[in-house]
Amino acid sequence: MKPFKQVLGEWLEQRTGAGTAIRNLLYEDIPASAGWRQVFGGVALFLFLAQGFTGILLALNYAATPGDAFNSLTYIITEVPAGRLIRGLHHWGASIMIVAVVLHMTQVFLYGAYKKPREVTWMAGTLLLLLTLGFGLTGYLLPWDNRAYWGTVVTTQIAGQAPVLGPYVERLLGSDGGVGVVTFARFFGLHVLVLPAFTALLIMLHVHLVCRHGVAPAPEETGPPKTFFPGQAWKDVTAVFAACVILFMMALFVQAPLDRLADPTDTGYIPRPDWYFLFLFETLKFFPGPLEPVGSILLPTLAVAALFLVPFVDRRQATRLTQRTVALGVVVLAAVGWASLTAAAVKTAPQAAQGPKASLPPAADWRQLLPAELAGYGYFQQENCSLCHNLSEGPTKRGPNLATVGTRKSATWMIAHFKNPSQVIPGSNMPPTDLNDSQLNALAGFLLRLTPSNAGAWTAAPPFAVKGAQIYDAKGCGKCHKVNGVGMELGPPLNGVSSRHPRKWVEKHFADPAALSPGSIMPPFKFSPRDMDALVSYLFSLPETPRPGPK
């Protein structure tokens, strides 16, 4: 009796011919000159499959609507185990895939491997390059952060500039009324349905043609053909393995960017495309005003057409690499052009916009904060804001870090946002706060004063001080008194009150001001013992003399 494995093998072979197919593939003849330079196509194919795999994983924890997209991606990164890794693999996989595709094309171009009868293989390859870039372009929007939103605003407007077709392309991308839910759905659909289907079909055609015509031989082969397996097969596997190592290193050690939630009102945001589109971005600068479509549409279209038609432009017999001076020149020129444009774009990238400088000196100590600013921190804790927001820079929680929000947003914006978060930032996941207007003012005051370096001033404040400042703020003490140089002067400034009066006196004074300071117009206040203690302790811990107030 035959062993089971053999029976199964024969059964499969009879029904599917799989064994023969694999054998044909492995023992296919390839030219003796084939070697390391032919590995990039295999790497690109591997990366495409890896992108499909990680993309599907991401989709299983992803909500494909604006706002929720950002929230679910934040959830993937911060809460799902291995989520940051999977997202990193997908993000960096895109970049590495573009590198692999470009290297593959450059190799084919340099060696003239597109020549007869491989013209269609080349053209399919050109389309695959475009599809790869299309993946990058559509995937760019999907995190729905500021970077994604503004990047896509620019991209869709460029598409809208196309002569004649512009308005139709915009309608197709759902961006004729601005980038919103429709654009998002279109980009998501393109990214996960349309592009993968076309790419898979073209890859099949491309690989089929490679098998049909074989690997392109050098003009003068030095030896008889060899088989793909084992020599070239191991070279391919090694290259794929190297790509895999680079990919995992980047995913593990280089953080994939995620900006704050897309904010269409954020006029200070300066969008930048991903690195592989930077050269196009820089090219645009050479064509100001009405000439812009030349740089954004005409030149790229011509470049793509030229690339596509390369096999029909260069129809000479295959020659050795050293004699392909024109091809070498084109590659060197393209590389230098690309590199200098990209370098220029990187160099001219403005730093993140700095808002108006705070007029107050940076506070290093909670005693120097204004009561409202300290009270605002109390409301921040009370409303559990810290569940979703970090005060310092660094890793983000579910919501954005707030260290620099004061330089980016106005108090009016903040208060409107606290009251109804999703109206101010569509898609915001933040629940509305339960604070009254004066409390919201205090909260905004706190955030306006906060900088990346001074969060310690608040976190070091003892609970009694925060509580005391909240009472001070809620009772409107600042309408008559000054603390730290801010407030009114109807009553005496409260810095140094501890050296002017004993504690008992101050406590009694609250209950009946007129009795202790005849002629006082201060109304009596009744506090619970705990509140009294917090307020008086706070006032007594203020610095003796206020620091210089704002000019």
């Binding site: 679910s72 959830y75 185990p81 291995a82 794929v240 559990n384 579910r398 933040m430």
Partner: protein, 143 residues
Amino acid sequence: MGLAFAVPAAIYLCFPPRSRKTPDWVQAGDLTQLDLGQPQQLTFRRTGTDGWKIAAEKATAWCVKTSDRDVIAFSPWCTHLGCAYHWDEQKKQFLCPCHGSVFGIDGKVLAGPAPRSLDRYEVKLENNAVWLGPVRGPGGTAL
């Protein structure tokens, strides 16, 4: 190489997400709302997380005041298959409409397929305010 992708994928799909601690305690009502020995359904709002969503959601508890200083709060779901039960005033029992489970006022199973007594919220009384914590299932595990 396959493993390099498969292991993170398995962790990604099969391990529970790190959940952020949300404040568990919420004021559901007031002792004065409740009558001694008379179950009453208290409705309150609590902030819950559902995956990437944070939502202020409506929640309810069947509360029984057992003495002046004691309140039991039952989770509103039958321990059989999670239907919402109700208090039957005539029979003085909690009845589940789905599969006929019957619970006493102390939450014990009197009849039907329910496998265990009603689950309870942790309860804290502060002055007259009734504060409810997480629901404790069998063995004291948070549900």
